[in-house]
């Protein structure tokens, strides 16, 4: 089971708590995690990745295991700790604005 931490606004949109869990087949990648999140919570489609290009929205970042993974390729395998559920995959909104 993969753990995913969502930013506050997406938690309220999907009516979930801080962390959600999704089943993801190996290899565990950004793409496979986000596909699973969007399948379970379809109201999140287009809010993390652009609908058309499937690229990360500019003001969001992806973190795991203390590393910024935002610029990793979407199909690159994520750290083993994420794949076995020991560490969450974190979707974070940039700290900006009012």
């Amino acid at each position: 089971m993969i753990r995913v931490v969502l930013p506050h606004h997406l938690r309220t949109l999907a009516s979930v708590g801080e962390e959600v869990q999704v089943d993801v087949a190996s290899p565990v990648t950004q793409r496979s995690i986000l596909d699973a999140v969007e399948k379970k919570y379809p109201m999140l489609r287009g809010t993390i990745r652009d609908h058309a290009t499937q690229t990360r929205r500019p003001f969001l970042r992806f973190f795991a295991c203390g590393e910024d993974l935002s610029h990793e390729q979407p199909d690159s395998p994520l750290p083993e700790q994420v794949a076995r559920g020991a560490e969450p995959f974190i979707v974070m909104g940039a700290i900006a604005g009012g």
Binding site: H9, L13, P42, A94
Partner: protein
């Protein structure tokens, strides 16, 4: 007894204000969608419990919300339990998917170069007059979309954006937004839209083809002040009993047309400034109109610190200041283009919201005013529903 429901979109969520027909005691519900920008909410004239809302964020993009119970509960269309049990297993999740038809093309940028069309947000939602599942969306960068399935999916009516003049459209200070959609109740298939800064357009075939309707407008900031397009139209309005007459608040000038936009003439008359954003028409008197004059180009607050609605009972030119109950000193708020609405009770109620978070209401067609709420986030839009 009749009642009213005022739908307020703000920078940080939506609020719903309700009252009985006396319009003196109000209940406030909200914030709905706290923290998100709510550019617009509007109820269907066919089913008043059906309300559409545009929810957006610079971080998370566009979301469309729908209520089927008058704003008590909300859902993103296509994600209800019923939808989730559908034969496809999972919904497509396309209620926020606004994709331009074909090659998006380019429009004029601030510096005069060409810039790609890029979807940013929905500014205005206009439910159809005869089907609660049919709704139009005016978006930035300017284009018109429609949904015929209650907001689950959207298609662009691309005849507008692909008009020959499209490459000459340019953004105003607030972006290149399609902010006004008027549906003609007498001539089905006829609709009017307005874009800042392109101008007003009319379709007579339900949105498939469009013509600019800007003859008579004069915009001195443009190289050709009377060009076919490029005008910064802030808002247009019509009365349903007389839809060939249009009223316009332009970046400068208040205008009217009596031939469905074929030609316009200025009716600013004795206004203290002819700049402003909203314009609206009395519910029962097609020649009575309202504006809120604002100083500009960049100040965007009321002249002399006095918040005044101006009413003309003559379809323009002769204006009277409505001040009773409105702050007449030290007031420096703005009233945005979609932030005025009028109910259909007798006498009609007039409502507007400010960037300072006040929503003012008048239950006597503007003669006297009271704040309904004083301290909301900056108000982006106000719509009122008159309920049986």
């Amino acid at each position: 007894m009749s009642s009213v429901r005022v739908l307020v979109g703000t920078r940080k969520g939506a609020f719903i204000l309700t009252s009985d027909g006396k319009r003196s005691d109000w209940q406030v519900s909200g914030p709905h969608f706290a923290g998100w920008e709510i550019y617009h909410l509007k109820g269907s004239p066919v089913d008043q419990n059906r309300i559409y809302a545009s929810q957006s964020s610079g971080w998370f993009g566009q979301v469309i919300q729908r209520s089927d119970d008058g704003g008590k509960t909300w859902q993103t269309p296509g994600t209800s339990e019923e939808d989730l049990r559908g034969p496809d297993g999972m919904p497509k999740g396309e209620s926020n998917m606004f994709v331009y038809d074909g090659v998006a093309g380019t429009h004029q940028w601030y510096d005069g170069t060409q810039h790609p069309w890029e979807f940013k947000r929905v500014w205005h939602l206009e439910p159809a007059l005869d089907d609660a599942d049919h709704v139009y969306a005016g978006v930035e960068d300017a284009a018109l979309f429609e949904s015929r399935d209650g907001g689950k999916s959207w298609r662009e009516l691309s005849g507008l954006r692909k008009h020959d003049s499209g490459p000459r459209w340019q953004p105003g200070a607030g972006g290149m937004c399609l902010h006004t959609i008027l549906l003609d109740p007498k001539n089905r298939g006829r609709m009017f839209i307005a874009i800042s800064a392109a101008g007003a357009f009319r379709s007579d075939d339900a949105g498939e083809t469009w013509k600019p309707i800007n003859r008579g407008l004069q915009s001195n900031f443009m190289p050709d002040p009377t060009a076919e397009v490029g005008h910064c139209v802030h808002r247009i309005a019509l009365h349903p009993s007389k839809p060939e007459t249009l009223f316009m608040q332009k970046h400068w000038d208040v205008m009217r047309s009596d031939d469905a936009g074929e030609s316009w003439r200025e009716v600013s008359g004795n206004l203290p400034t002819d700049f402003g954003f909203p314009i609206d028409v009395h519910a029962h008197e097609p020649e009575t109109i309202y504006v809120v004059p604002i100083k500009s180009d960049s100040e965007h607050f009321p002249p002399d610190g006095k918040l005044r609605v101006f009413r003309s009972r003559t379809g323009g030119n002769e204006w009277e200041a409505l001040t009773n109950g409105l702050p007449q000193r030290d007031c420096y708020v703005n009233v945005l283009r979609d932030a005025m609405s009028i109910d259909s009770l007798e006498p009609c109620g007039v409502y507007f919201g400010t960037t300072g978070g006040q929503v003012y209401g008048s239950s006597d067609a503007g003669d006297t005013w009271k704040p309904i709420v004083r301290d909301l986030p900056a108000v982006l839009s106000v719509e009122v529903q008159t309920l049986p």
